[in-house]
């Protein structure tokens, strides 16, 4: 085999002056129990752990085993989570493997400026996820209570002819659906505006299907916010306020985090 054997797993990048006391504050073990250490190269340090030889040999087999991969991804997350509680970290995507320390150092040196700038963007901030759910039945009854526009009176349905009644009914159903959709969009935009005011930046995430979120209501928005630590209380207060003002109209907010700023470190640095 000509490909180098993968022996070092990398989790994320920190500033080297941040990585020095890693052992003291984040005594975590990484994939396959390897001790996590900071591998410094100039201004930057990669958080890495050694992969045991037996782990690297059947790596291709590991990739085909979902349970095994899931536990490895959990390890990857656990390390990043431990680090982000204490310091700024630029998370690497799962699967960054190097043949040795020199390989890591070479990659850091090659992309030093880009990594440093990316660290600047997430400096002192953590990622929070916010999902908005909507119970459309509740929203619908809320809309028909509050306005005349939705669920218009039965008088209109008592049109002269059956054909006319059908047409009016279809028109109203269409209008109701449009009103519901407009309300949801307004809620999403307004939430994004208020939450963004307490955040450094925001990113849209993929909506999850019911089989994943397991709720009866519908997920209408899934987003991530990069929030400076000193703004976190304000950010959380905004969500509480949003929940307060919108629960009676069928909306519900779900918070997750804090995460390493994965959604805000979303780019690829190619090899030479």
């Amino acid at each position: 085999m000509s490909a180098p054997e993968p022996r070092i797993y990398a989790y994320g990048i920190v500033r080297s002056h941040d990585g020095g006391d890693l052992a003291a504050s984040v005594p975590v073990h990484g994939l396959h129990g390897g001790a996590v250490r900071a591998l410094a190269c100039g201004r930057l340090a990669a958080l890495v752990s050694d992969l045991p030889p037996q782990a690297s040999a059947p790596l291709d087999d590991v990739w085909r085993d979902p349970d095994r991969i899931k536990s490895l991804v959990l390890e990857h997350h656990r390390v990043l989570h431990g680090v982000v509680l204490e310091r700024t970290v630029l998370p690497l995507r799962f699967g960054a493997v190097f043949s040795d320390d020199d390989g890591v150092a070479t990659a850091l040196a090659m992309h030093c400026d880009a990594l440093w700038e990316a660290l600047d963007r997430v400096d002192g901030a953590r990622e929070w996820g916010v999902k908005i759910f909507c119970d459309q039945d509740v929203l619908l009854s809320h809309l028909s209570r509050d306005t005349d526009g939705v669920g218009a009176g039965p008088a209109q349905i008592n049109a002269p002819s059956a054909g006319r009644a059908f047409f009016v009914r279809r028109q109203m159903e269409h209008r109701v659906a449009q009103d519901v959709r407009d309300s949801i969009i307004r809620r999403i935009v307004e939430s994004g505006r208020l939450l963004s005011a307490a955040a450094r930046t925001a990113a849209a995430l993929r909506i999850q299907p019911p089989a994943i979120h397991g709720r009866a209501d519908e997920m209408v928005c899934n987003s991530a916010f990069l929030v400076a630590r000193e703004q976190e209380n304000r950010f959380l207060a905004v969500i509480d306020a949003l929940q307060d003002t919108s629960s009676r109209s069928g909306f519900d907010y779900e918070l997750n985090g804090p995460w390493a700023p994965c959604s805000f470190a979303h780019f690829s640095l190619g090899s030479a």
Binding site: W63, I69, P91, A204, A211, D240, L255, A260, A265
Partner: protein, 74 residues
């Protein structure tokens, strides 16, 4: 406490996978595991967490998933 913290197990794992496998910096080294391989794992895990029928939902939702939020994130 008004806003519930999402910690239902499947949801938490899905949130985690979405981040660990599709976000974060891709730093290529001389032995970096091929992303094609990682993509396959992701598909495998998704099938594990979601059932086949919901993959259709996921696709439909994804198509309708307009960028309503200001996407300034890198």
């Amino acid at each position: 406490m008004k806003v519930r913290i999402g910690h239902e197990r499947n949801t938490a794992i899905a949130d985690l996978l979405d981040r660990a496998l599709s976000k974060g910096v891709v730093l290529w080294g001389e032995a970096t595991i091929s992303l094609a391989g990682v993509g396959l794992i992701y598909v495998g895990l998704k099938v594990l967490v979601a059932s086949v029928e919901t993959m259709h939902t996921m696709r439909a939702v994804h198509r309708a998933d307009a960028p309503l939020l200001d996407e300034r994130g890198a």
